[in-house]
C-alpha cells in the first residue's frame, strides 16, 4: 500500500514534462548563446536583454504557450559554443536559438544546430560566408559584412575624402572578413590600401602603429572588437597618428572609448548594420523600444539590442501562430514578414535578412551617438 503510494507520487512528480520537442504543453524553451562574460561581452549582453524584453512582454499577455529564455555563455569560444549547443539540444530541449552571437563560434556551432534541426537566428554574426553554406535552419536579422564593408568604404571616400587608408584586423573570422570587404570596397574606388595584423592577445601594437605612421593615411579602419580597437586607437594617437579612425560593429561599445581614453577617442567613427536610435529619428518603433528597454534595464539600448528584440519577435510570432515544434517554427520563419524595431523581419531563402542599412556612429565625449546612414551621414 505504502509502496504503491510512493510509486504514484513519483509518477505524478515526473509526469510534468512530456510532449513533443520543447518541454511540456504550456511552455517552450528558446536558447540564447553568446559571449556573456568574456572580454567582448559588451556586444552580446544588449541583444540578450533585448530578447528577454520581447519574451517578457509576450509572456505578460498570458498566452497559451509561454516562452522560457535560457542563456548559454560561450565566452565567444567556438569549442564552448559547440558543446553548449549540444547540451541545449539534448538536455534543455530548445525549440530555437537566438545566436550564436559571433561569427567565429557560428562556424562551428551552427552545423550542430543543423544536425539537430534547430532553427537559429543570430542578432549579431555578420560574416558573409555564414550565408553561403546552404544551411537550412540558420537565419540572421543583421546585415552581413559585405554590406557593412561597402557602406564604410563609401563613407570614408565621401566624407573623409580618403585617398590612402590603413586597414588593420586581428585575423579572427569576423575581423578579417570585414576588413577584407572594406579593403575591396576602397580599392574599387581607387583608394590605396595598406593592411596589417594585430595579435588580439598582445598589448603592444607598436609595429602596426609604426607602419601606419609611415604610411600617412587619410583614414584608418580596424576590423575587430572594442577591447583591441581601444588599445590600437590609444597607441595610434599617442604616436601622433591623428587620421580618422573607423571600426566596425565589433567596436560599437563604450569600451572603445574607455580603452583609448576620451582624449584619444576623438575623430573616431564606428559602423554597424544595427540601429541604435533612442530618439526615434528613423521610426517611432525605435523610441517605444528604447523606452521599454530603459524602463526594464535602467540603461539606454546598446548595440544589437533592437536586433535581439527582433530575433526574439520572430520566434514569438511563430509560437503565437501555434508552431511549437522545431520543424513548424522553421517553416514559419520562411514566410514571416512583420515590422521589427530595427528592420522588417523577413528572411530570404538563404536566411539573410531581406532589408537593412548600414549606420555610422561617431564618438562624442563618452558616447557613441548615431550620425546617420552610411550613404547619407555627414562628418561636418
Amino acid at each position: 500500500m505504502a509502496l504503491s503510494a510512493v510509486l504514484a507520487l513519483s509518477a505524478a512528480a515526473c509526469g510534468g514534462d512530456d510532449g513533443g520537442s520543447g518541454g511540456d504543453g504550456n511552455s517552450v524553451t528558446i536558447g540564447f548563446l553568446g559571449d556573456l562574460t568574456g572580454e567582448n561581452s559588451g556586444i552580446v549582453i544588449p541583444p540578450k536583454q533585448g530578447a528577454q524584453l520581447a519574451i517578457d512582454e509576450y509572456n505578460a499577455t498570458n498566452p497559451k504557450v509561454k516562452i522560457v529564455l535560457k542563456t548559454y555563455d560561450s565566452q565567444g569560444q567556438p569549442d564552448q559554443a559547440t558543446s553548449l549547443v549540444q547540451s541545449a539540444i539534448k538536455s534543455d530541449n530548445i525549440v530555437g536559438l537566438i545566436g550564436p552571437a559571433f561569427s567565429g563560434e557560428s562556424q562551428q556551432a551552427v552545423p550542430v544546430l543543423e544536425e539537430g534541426k534547430i532553427p537559429n537566428i543570430s542578432a549579431s554574426a555578420t560574416n558573409v560566408t555564414l550565408g553561403e553554406k546552404g544551411w537550412k535552419y540558420w537565419h540572421r536579422v543583421v546585415g552581413n559584412d559585405s554590406m557593412q564593408g561597402t557602406g564604410v568604404a563609401e563613407f570614408l571616400v565621401r566624407e573623409a575624402k580618403a585617398k590612402k587608408v590603413f586597414v588593420a584586423h586581428d585575423n579572427e573570422d569576423y575581423s578579417k572578413g570585414l576588413a577584407d570587404y572594406v579593403t575591396k570596397g576602397l580599392k574599387e574606388k581607387g583608394v590605396t590600401v595598406e593592411q596589417d595584423v594585430v595579435d588580439p592577445r598582445a598589448s603592444d601594437y607598436s609595429s602596426t602603429v609604426n607602419k601606419a605612421k609611415a604610411f600617412k593615411p587619410d583614414a584608418i579602419f580596424y576590423g575587430g572588437y572594442y577591447a583591441q580597437g581601444g588599445r590600437l586607437l590609444k597607441q595610434l594617437r599617442e604616436n601622433g597618428v591623428d587620421a580618422l579612425f573607423a571600426s566596425g560593429d565589433g567596436s560599437l561599445d563604450k569600451g572603445l572609448i574607455e580603452g583609448a581614453g576620451e582624449k584619444n577617442a576623438v575623430n573616431t567613427v564606428v559602423s554597424c548594420p544595427c540601429l541604435i536610435d533612442p530618439t526615434g529619428e528613423s521610426s517611432p518603433a525605435s523610441k517605444k523600444f528604447a523606452e521599454a528597454y530603459k524602463a526594464k534595464y535602467n540603461s539606454e539600448p546598446a548595440i544589437y539590442a533592437a536586433e535581439g528584440y527582433d530575433a526574439a519577435t520572430a520566434f514569438i510570432e511563430a509560437i503565437k501562430a501555434g508552431n511549437t515544434t522545431t520543424e513548424a517554427i522553421n517553416e514559419f520563419l520562411k514566410t514571416i514578414d512583420v515590422p521589427g524595431v530595427s528592420k522588417q523581419i523577413k528572411f530570404d531563402d538563404k536566411g539573410e535578412p531581406a532589408g537593412g542599412d548600414v549606420y555610422i556612429y561617431r564618438v562624442e565625449g563618452k558616447e557613441l551617438p548615431l550620425l546617420g546612414k552610411a550613404s547619407e551621414a555627414k562628418l561636418q
Binding site: 572580454e39 561581452s41 596589417d196 603592444d204 602596426t208 607602419k211 580603452g259
Partner: protein
C-alpha cells in the same frame, strides 16, 4: 628607411625591457629548482592589478609627466614589487613546496604550475578584478583601465629624427637599472651566493650550511619582485590590464629567457632585448602577422647551434 629602423629599435628595446624583467623570474626559478614556473605570468598579473590600484588611489587630476610621473612610477613599482613578491612566495608555499617535500618528480611540479596558472587567471577574472575595480560580477574579463589616464606622453629627445617618448625611456632605463641591481645582488651578497650554490648543487649547498628552503623562498620573492617592476612599467606603457595579460607575455618572456640562456640572469636581459628587437624588425620587414614566426625561427636557429642559449652559462657559473 633609417628612421623606420630607428623607431622600431626604440620600440623593440622598450618592449624587450618588459620581456627581460619577466624573464628574470622564469630564469631564476629554473636555475635554482629546474622548474618552469608557468604561474609566473599570474604573478605579473598581480603586479599589474596592484599598480592600477595605486594609480586609482593617487588619482592624479591631470596626466603626469616629468618628476611627478617618475614619482608615481616608483610608487607603483614599490607596491607591485611587494604584491608580486608576496604572491610568488605564497605560490611557492602552496603549489611547489609540498611537492618538493615529498620528493615528487619535476613533472608533478610542472603540472602544479600549470594548474596554479589556470586557477589564478580564473580566480582573478571571477573575484579579484570585479572586487578591486568595482566592476559587475560578469565584467571580470573585460580590460581594466585606471579611472583617469595618468600619463602625459611626449618626446623627451630625438635620435636621428625619431622621437623617444618619456614612457618608453623610463621603461628602458628602469629595466636596465633593476637588472644591474639584481646582478650585483646575486654576485656580491651572501644570499646571492646561497642562490648560486643551490643552483649549482643543492645537496652540497646544504652541507655548506645553506638553508635550501630560505633560498627557494628568496628566489621566488626576487623573481616575483622583478615581475612586479615589469608590471608597473607595463601599466605605465599601456595604462590597462586584463585577466589574461600574463599569458602571451609569459610565453614571450620564457622564450626570451631560453634565448638568452636559461638560468643565466644576464641571459634574461640579453634574451629579452633581442626578442623585442627581433619582433619589431620582423614586423618591419615581413608584416606584423609574421612577428612571432620570425622570433621563433631565430630562437630555433640559435638553439640549434648554441643549445644553452646566447650567453650560455648558467646561474651557478656566474662570475665573482
Amino acid at each position: 628607411m633609417l628612421d623606420n629602423l630607428l623607431i622600431n629599435t626604440v620600440d623593440g628595446l622598450s618592449l624587450g625591457a618588459i620581456y627581460a624583467l619577466v624573464a628574470l623570474g622564469y630564469t631564476m626559478v629554473y636555475g635554482v629548482l629546474r622548474l618552469i614556473n608557468f604561474a609566473h605570468s599570474e604573478i605579473f598579473l598581480i603586479g599589474t592589478c596592484a599598480s592600477l590600484v595605486v594609480v586609482n588611489a593617487v588619482a592624479p587630476s591631470a596626466p603626469l609627466s616629468g618628476v611627478a610621473l617618475l614619482g608615481i612610477v616608483l610608487l607603483m613599482a614599490a607596491v607591485a614589487m611587494v604584491a608580486s613578491g608576496a604572491g610568488a612566495m605564497a605560490l611557492e608555499f602552496v603549489a611547489y613546496r609540498p611537492l618538493r617535500k615529498h620528493g615528487a618528480s619535476r613533472l608533478a611540479a610542472l603540472i602544479s604550475a600549470i594548474g596554479a596558472s589556470l586557477f589564478l587567471q580564473q580566480f582573478f577574472a571571477l573575484f579579484v578584478i570585479p572586487w578591486l575595480f568595482d566592476k559587475p560580477k560578469e565584467g571580470g574579463r573585460l580590460p581594466v583601465q585606471p579611472e583617469q589616464h595618468f600619463v602625459d606622453r611626449h618626446d623627451v629627445f630625438s635620435i636621428g629624427g625619431v622621437g623617444v617618448a618619456n614612457d618608453k625611456l623610463i621603461v628602458f632605463i628602469a629595466a636596465i637599472l633593476m637588472m644591474v641591481v639584481l646582478d650585483q645582488f646575486v654576485n656580491r651578497t651572501k644570499l646571492g651566493r646561497g642562490i648560486r650554490s643551490t643552483a649549482q648543487d643543492p645537496e652540497t649547498a646544504v652541507l655548506m650550511g645553506v638553508n635550501i628552503d630560505r633560498i627557494v623562498t628568496a628566489t621566488f620573492a626576487i623573481g616575483g619582485a622583478m615581475a612586479g617592476v615589469a608590471a608597473a612599467l607595463y601599466v605605465l606603457r599601456f595604462e590597462e590590464t586584463f585577466f589574461m595579460v600574463g599569458f602571451l607575455l609569459g610565453i614571450k618572456a620564457f622564450t626570451a629567457a631560453v634565448l638568452g640562456g636559461i638560468g643565466n640572469i644576464r641571459g634574461a636581459l640579453t634574451g629579452g632585448f633581442v626578442l623585442g628587437l627581433l619582433e619589431m624588425y620582423g614586423s618591419m620587414v615581413f608584416g606584423s602577422a609574421w612577428k612571432d614566426v620570425v622570433a621563433f625561427v631565430i630562437l630555433i636557429l640559435v638553439l640549434m647551434f648554441r643549445p644553452t642559449g646566447i650567453l650560455g652559462e648558467s646561474l651557478q657559473q656566474a662570475r665573482a
